[in-house]
Symmetry: C2
């Protein structure tokens, strides 16, 4: 039998056309988050279709994270800055079937983090540096319970997420945050990626301290090189994370 799933729908759905039109309209008019879309009545007139079709299109835009729909008077569809969490969720849907391996994740991290560190160096505020110091201090306490060890591991990752958010390159920031989020999810839900705990976390703390020093002195190239060493070390400590990671992209609820 012919694989039916390969067939292309005869007609493009009306609601999808509306979604496309609304997107183009938002882009061309440079609408900003918080701006209101036309209400249902106006959209019905503009696209000459029923209320249900308009609602379906708005629902689609909502799932994509582009609008939020408010109830009450003066309610309706508000344009929304797509939250990181939404983009992350949708990219995880894609990766669920692509099944990247543990080494794949760490390889990307090793590639991306040094560049992030270099770009972030001149952009870190005193507050940022303080936050980084606090995260390192949290990792230095002697962990007594498993939960404490876990939250230290997460603090270690938050260090990198903060750098990613400051690197000034929107795409690199997204990738950096996404990679560290994936590792965080694996740490929490698979309870793996906690290998060689003592030696590993000591190495991490040492690297983080050196990195903060480089940031303070504005030495971007040094930060990049330190970060590269740090990532190579992390890659090494997590070498046994070999298996394919299916059931952890779709399955994790953030």
């Amino acid at each position: 039998m012919i694989d039916k799933s390969l067939r292309i729908p005869k007609r493009i759905k009306r609601s999808d056309q509306i979604v496309e039109s609304v997107k183009r309209w938002v882009a061309q008019n440079k609408m900003q988050p918080g701006d209101r879309l036309p209400n249902e009545r106006e959209l019905m007139e503009q696209f000459d279709c029923s209320k249900g079709t308009v609602r379906e299109a708005l629902k689609s835009l909502e799932v994509q994270g582009l609008v939020s729909i408010r109830t009450g008077p003066n309610g309706g569809a508000l344009l929304e800055r797509v939250p990181y969490e939404k983009a992350s969720e949708l990219l995880r849907n894609f990766l669920h079937f692509e099944q990247p391996s543990g080494p794949d994740i760490y390889a990307l991290r090793t590639l991306v983090e040094p560049e992030i560190a270099m770009l972030a160096t001149p952009r870190l505020s005193p507050d940022d540096l303080n936050a980084l110091v606090k995260l390192v201090e949290k990792c230095e306490e002697e962990p007594e319970t498993f939960d404490e060890r876990l939250s230290q591991r997460i603090a270690e990752l938050d260090f990198h997420v903060l750098l990613a958010q400051r690197c000034g390159n929107a795409m690199l920031a997204f990738i950096g945050r996404f990679v560290n989020d994936m590792i965080r999810d694996l740490v929490i839900f698979k309870k793996s990626a906690l290998p060689e705990q003592r030696e590993f976390s000591c190495a991490n703390i040492a690297y983080h301290k050196q990195l903060i020093e480089a940031f303070r002195e504005g030495k971007a190239e040094l930060a990049r090189d330190l970060m590269y060493e740090h990532m190579k070390s992390a890659e090494h400590f997590n070498k046994e994370l070999e298996g394919r990671l299916n059931q952890y992209f779709l399955g994790v609820t953030n």
Copy 2:
């Protein structure tokens, strides 16, 4: 007035709960693309809700690219491998508001492409090499119309997309393809990024030929270094692409 869009809805919508449950179910049972989800009636019973609510949940999964829905006997929601185009579209929604600049895009490209070239080197089949050669030959013809010049520029980008698809790291493959797709969209719709046409395309052809040679001889490190030079050159030629690129993420229809 307080920004209402920041408020969190008190109750999580029923249909969103169903979406989460279905995702977890798919992940835990290691369902594969092509597998059928329970039909509407069964889902209504399982989640004790109305047909409308189930349909809303299925619609959400459809927008996310996870299922396709067919009518008729043996119809229903089929699990789909999320297509690259879907993931790309959803990530562009996010980036629309982040507004990466032209240099941001090229900086990421310069970071990622050398690694892709290195990883792809031992993975290219003879067919792949032939395809790469064909793409270069297409770029060598003397362009007579603007459309021909455009399609040559696209062939140049397809060279990189093919490498990305062969690099063996699912995430790096996605990023590589996505970056080159963004540049392609800019070339087509903004009709910019066609600077210094002659000199630029000659340089590209030369690099691509050297790359193919490195691939043939299996010299991965050489391929990486060549690609880095190639990207630095492309970055330089496209330096004037400075402006923010809003209205081109949402607006482009693929």
